[in-house]
């Protein structure tokens, strides 16, 4: 019975990881081996040629840079606007439950399907001449991540006892000083986890990036990969190499924020 249970768990893990492993092998195989029959799971000749072709010669290095820049800038912007909002909702007295109403409204903007706002956003950015630019996409991502920051950070702030900052304020700290010097250091792990989630969302995002960028100057890694898939002749090696590189930062970040994974994925609802 016990063996049976472990067997089932191992099978589940194999199913979860096999497609990822296969992608990695394709990125490391010579072209002749990629689609050999029978499929080669192990013991094939490895090569880094596809990685070199994608990143040294090809345009994926530029896509990678774009993705890094976008994720970083939109995360910082979302935190700058969202953290004070979260603090405001968590800490002040609001008449007639306005804190709840504002909080719900903020969260509901996150629930809008992107396809609903993408048409007007496309037209707005076109008018502002921000299509095909990293700034345009960064603005959109900031708006996308902001509700998430507010909800996550509000939960973390609410877990800090009020007495701590009230004591600091009695000692002469201003409200802002108490937030920066007393409260923020206490919620640092939560802040880091929130930032990681924003980074990952921006890094993985596809639809907005697909529609708002067309040139190498602003294309992100997912769009770059996708544009190679839809071509007539697909370079599977190059694409797999780019895919492997695209997933590595996410896995590292997820490992770093593992403790808060449940909380982040449930928009702060399950404290995990």
């Amino acid at each position: 019975m016990k063996i049976f249970r472990y067997g089932a768990a191992v099978i589940a893990v194999v199913i979860a990881l096999a497609p990822v492993y296969w992608l990695v092998t394709i990125s490391l195989k010579r072209e002749v081996d990629q689609f050999a029959y029978p499929p080669q799971w192990i013991g094939f000749t490895t090569t880094l040629a596809h990685y070199r072709e994608a990143f040294a010669g090809g345009s994926f290095a530029a896509y990678f840079e774009n993705s890094v820049f976008l994720a970083a800038i939109s995360t910082v912007a979302a935190l700058l606007a969202g953290v004070p909002a979260a603090y405001g909702l968590a800490r002040f007295e609001w008449p007639r439950k306005w804190d709840e109403r504002i909080g719900d409204w903020i969260l509901s903007t996150r629930m809008l399907p992107p396809i609903v706002t993408i048409v007007p956003l496309f037209l707005m950015l076109r008018e502002a001449r921000l299509l095909n630019s990293l700034s345009g996409l960064a603005i959109v991502y900031t708006g996308f991540n902001l509700p998430f920051v507010v909800w996550m950070m509000r939960g973390f702030f609410e877990e800090v006892p009020r007495e701590i900052e009230e004591a600091a304020m009695l000692d002469g700290e201003s409200r802002m000083g108490a937030l920066l010097r007393i409260v923020l250091p206490l919620v640092k792990p939560g802040l880091a986890a929130t930032a990681v989630f924003c980074l990952v969302v921006a890094w993985n995002e596809f639809l907005f990036a697909l529609i708002l960028t067309e040139t190498d100057a602003a294309m992100t890694l997912p769009v770059g990969i996708a544009s190679h898939v839809t071509q007539y002749e697909i370079q599977w090696g190059v694409m797999s190499a780019a895919g492997v590189v695209a997933m590595i930062p996410v896995l590292i970040f997820a490992a770093a924020a593992q403790k808060y994974l449940v909380r982040g994925l449930s928009l702060g609802a399950v404290k995990g």
């Binding site: 296969w22 499929p39 997912p222 399950v270």
Partner: protein, 283 residues
């Protein structure tokens, strides 16, 4: 103490308001304004809404979106719950299994879809290759390129990718259940299955509702995987509402009609989000 009087007109502005104000401005500009803009676009031509009612393709896309959402949700829930119970019952290695099972969900969706395109290819994909090696006849297994099997194949990818999400939330829910009621039921002589149905499941219900709503809301807007895997084809076999809106707006430049269709999707989302807001506040 925290409510200060705004001196000018003697009306009270809550102090916290100024902390929230910048975020409200950003969201007004990036969510509410676009929403109103979409209303204006769709109303520019009345026919946008009458056309909706007679658009066969929109109807097909809608039905397929519903089928995909319900099927994927049901399977992911059943598997996620089974996995959560299974891993929870293991004496050791729980952290390892939990971490390894999460990987599919963390990948960029585009990368996951690319991996599955490699796997599904009928001629040289590893799936048919492995099945052939095991002695199966794979000549009729066309996966995403067969009209009859494409939607099921897309659902299978979603199940692979997102069962971990249900698993993770339900796992957390299981761990948060107090042990006393379970002990009490055991002392009373209830069997494992009875305990699961009568004690565990009711206690898990809030987490189940939340997880289903979160996943369901994302499923009705599914785009990335299908865009990579099939582009809605073959024919219209995997066309979904999001994909059809995308095509209408950005291939055929019919922004008004795309906006009109997007409101149907928005209405479907509202059903989920109202329940979701309630579920989140209940916690």
């Amino acid at each position: 103490m925290s409510v200060i009087a705004a001196p000018a007109r003697g009306r009270r502005v809550p102090e916290g308001f100024w902390w929230v104000f910048p975020s409200i401005l950003v969201l007004l500009a990036l969510s509410i304004y676009p929403l109103l803009y979409a209303v204006k676009l769709s109303l520019a031509d009345r026919r946008n809404f009458t056309r909706l009612l007679s658009d066969r393709l929109f109807f097909t896309a809608g039905v397929q979106t519903i089928v995909l959402t319900l099927a994927a949700l049901a399977i992911e829930f059943a598997l996620g719950l089974a996995l959560a119970v299974l891993i929870d019952s293991l004496a050791r290695g729980r952290t390892f299994f939990r971490t390894a099972l999460l990987v599919p969900m963390l990948l960029p969706p585009v990368v996951a879809a690319v991996a599955w395109r490699l796997i599904y290819n009928p001629q040289f994909g590893v799936l048919n290759g492995s099945l052939r090696r095991l002695g199966f006849d794979t000549s009729h297994l066309t996966w995403t390129s067969g009209e009859g099997s494409a939607l099921a194949s897309v659902i299978l990818v979603d199940v692979w990718e997102w069962t971990p999400f249900l698993f993770l939330l339900l796992s957390a829910g299981l761990q948060a259940i107090p042990t006393e009621p379970l002990e009490a039921a055991r002392v009373d002589g209830a069997g494992a299955w009875r305990i699961f149905c009568d004690v565990t499941l009711p206690l898990l219900k809030p987490t189940i509702v939340l997880a289903l709503l979160l996943r369901g809301m994302d499923l009705v807007r599914i785009f990335d995987q299908i865009f990579i895997l099939t582009q809605g084809g073959p024919g219209t076999a995997t066309e979904t509402v999001s994909l059809y809106i995308y095509r209408t707006a950005f291939r055929f430049s019919n922004f008004g009609y795309a906006a009109a269709m997007s409101f149907v999707l928005l209405a479907a989302t509202l059903l989920f989000s109202r329940g979701l807001l309630k579920a989140m506040r209940a916690r």
